[in-house]
C-alpha cells in the first residue's frame, strides 16, 4: 500500500532516474554526508569535551546532508515537496551557524562544517543549497529559464556588495589600523558569494546559450571589484540576459 503524495507535490514520475544536474547534486550530497558524518563522529568519540557544540553541529550538518540527498532523489522522481523545504532549512543552517561563528568565535573552540560559511570545505556548504534551489526551480516548467537569469542578477549585485564590505574592512585594517574584524567578517562572506557567482554564471551560460568568450568575460568579471555589476548591465543591454531560452519556449503551452 502506497501513501498519497504530500500536499504541494506533483504526481510521482517513474522511479527510473533521469539524466540531469541532480546526478551531480546527489554525488556532492553523498560526499558531504560521509565527510561531515565521519568527521563529527570521530571528534565526538575522541574529544567531545573540547568543543561539544561544534561537534554536535557538525553531526547535525551530516544529518542535514543525508536528508538533502533524500530530498534531491525524491525531487528527481517528481516529488519536489520535501526538497522545497529541506534545501531552505539547510541554507538557513549554513547562514545561521556561519554568521554566529564569525560574530561569537568564543562559542566555537573548534570549527564546525558550517563555520565561516563552510570555509574549511571551500565554501561548498554555502553554495550547495543555492545550487539545489536553482535546480529545483528549473524543474518547474513555468519558472524554468528565468530562474537562472534572476539568480545571476541578484548574485552579481551581491558579489559587488561583498567587495564593498571587504574593501571597507581592508581600509580599517591597513589604513586606519583599527583591527581586522571587518576582514574576518567580510572575507568569508565574499568568498561564499564569489563561489556562488561562479556556479550561477555557469548555469546562466547554459541557460542563455552564451558563447565561450562571453562566459569567460562573465567569470573574469568576478575578479576585479564591482565588475560583476558592469557585466550584468552590459549583458542586459545587449540582450544576453533575456530570460527564457528557445528550449523553454518550446516547452511552453501553445495557446
Amino acid at each position: 500500500m502506497t501513501s498519497p503524495p504530500e500536499q504541494g507535490e506533483t504526481e510521482p514520475a517513474p522511479s527510473t532516474p533521469r539524466s540531469g544536474a541532480h546526478q551531480v547534486l546527489l554525488l556532492v550530497y553523498a560526499l558531504f554526508t560521509v565527510a561531515a558524518g565521519a568527521r563529527s563522529l570521530v571528534q565526538l568519540a575522541t574529544k567531545a569535551d573540547e568543543a561539544p557544540v561544534a561537534y554536535t553541529l557538525s553531526l547535525l550538518a551530516a544529518v542535514t546532508y543525508a536528508l538533502g540527498w533524500l530530498a534531491i532523489r525524491r525531487a528527481s522522481e517528481g516529488r519536489t515537496g520535501f526538497a522545497a523545504r529541506m534545501l531552505w532549512v539547510e541554507l538557513a543552517g549554513v547562514l545561521a551557524v556561519g554568521t554566529v561563528s564569525l560574530i561569537e568565535d568564543d562559542w566555537f573552540p573548534d570549527a564546525t562544517v558550517w563555520s565561516d560559511y563552510g570555509i574549511g570545505y571551500g565554501f561548498v556548504p554555502a553554495v550547495l543549497p543555492v545550487a539545489g534551489l536553482l535546480w529545483l526551480r528549473a524543474q518547474d516548467p513555468e519558472r524554468a529559464g528565468g530562474g537562472a537569469v534572476t539568480a545571476f542578477r541578484v548574485v552579481a549585485f551581491a558579489e559587488a556588495l561583498s567587495w564593498l564590505g571587504l574593501l571597507t574592512g581592508m581600509f580599517f585594517k591597513y589604513v586606519v589600523d583599527a583591527g581586522e574584524r571587518g576582514v574576518q567578517v567580510f572575507g568569508p562572506i565574499h568568498g561564499t558569494v564569489f563561489l556562488t557567482y561562479l556556479v550561477v554564471t555557469l548555469l546562466t551560460w547554459r541557460s542563455q546559450r552564451w558563447s565561450l568568450v562571453v562566459a569567460a568575460v562573465a567569470l573574469a568579471a568576478s575578479v576585479p571589484p564591482f565588475c560583476t555589476v558592469l557585466f550584468e548591465e552590459w549583458a542586459r543591454r545587449t540582450g544576453r540576459l533575456g530570460g527564457a531560452t528557445s528550449d523553454d519556449a518550446r516547452r511552453a503551452p501553445v495557446t
Binding site: 546526478q23 546527489l26 554525488l27 553523498a30 560526499l31 565521519a38
Partner: protein
Amino acid sequence: MGALDQISWIVVGYAGLVALLAGWSAYRWRQRPPWLASMAWMLEALVVLRAVAGLGVILSGTEPDQVSTQVGYLLASVCIMPLALRSVQDDTGAWSLGVVGVAAATVAVVSVRIVMTL
C-alpha cells in the same frame, strides 16, 4: 613516507587531469567519451596502489599523526570513483561528465588531505 608522498602527488595531478578533461568534454561534445571511463579507472588503479602502500606502512608500525583520519581518507579515496561511475553507468549525457569531474576533483582533494595528515 617519501614514496607515498610521490604517489599521492601523482594521483593529485592525474585526478586534476581527469576533472579537466571531463569539463572539456562537457563543453566540446556534451557527451561522455568512452576513453574518459578508462582514464577514471586508471585513476582508480593509482588510488588503490596508494591505499595499499599507505595501509602497508601503517601495519608495518610507522603510524601517521592521526591514524583514524589517515585510514578513513585512504578507504574513502578508493570508494569515490567506482561509486560515481556506477551511478552513471547507463548514462553518457553531459551531466554524467559532471559526476565524473566532481568525483575526480574530490579524489584530488582527498589525496592532498592524505599528504597533509601523514
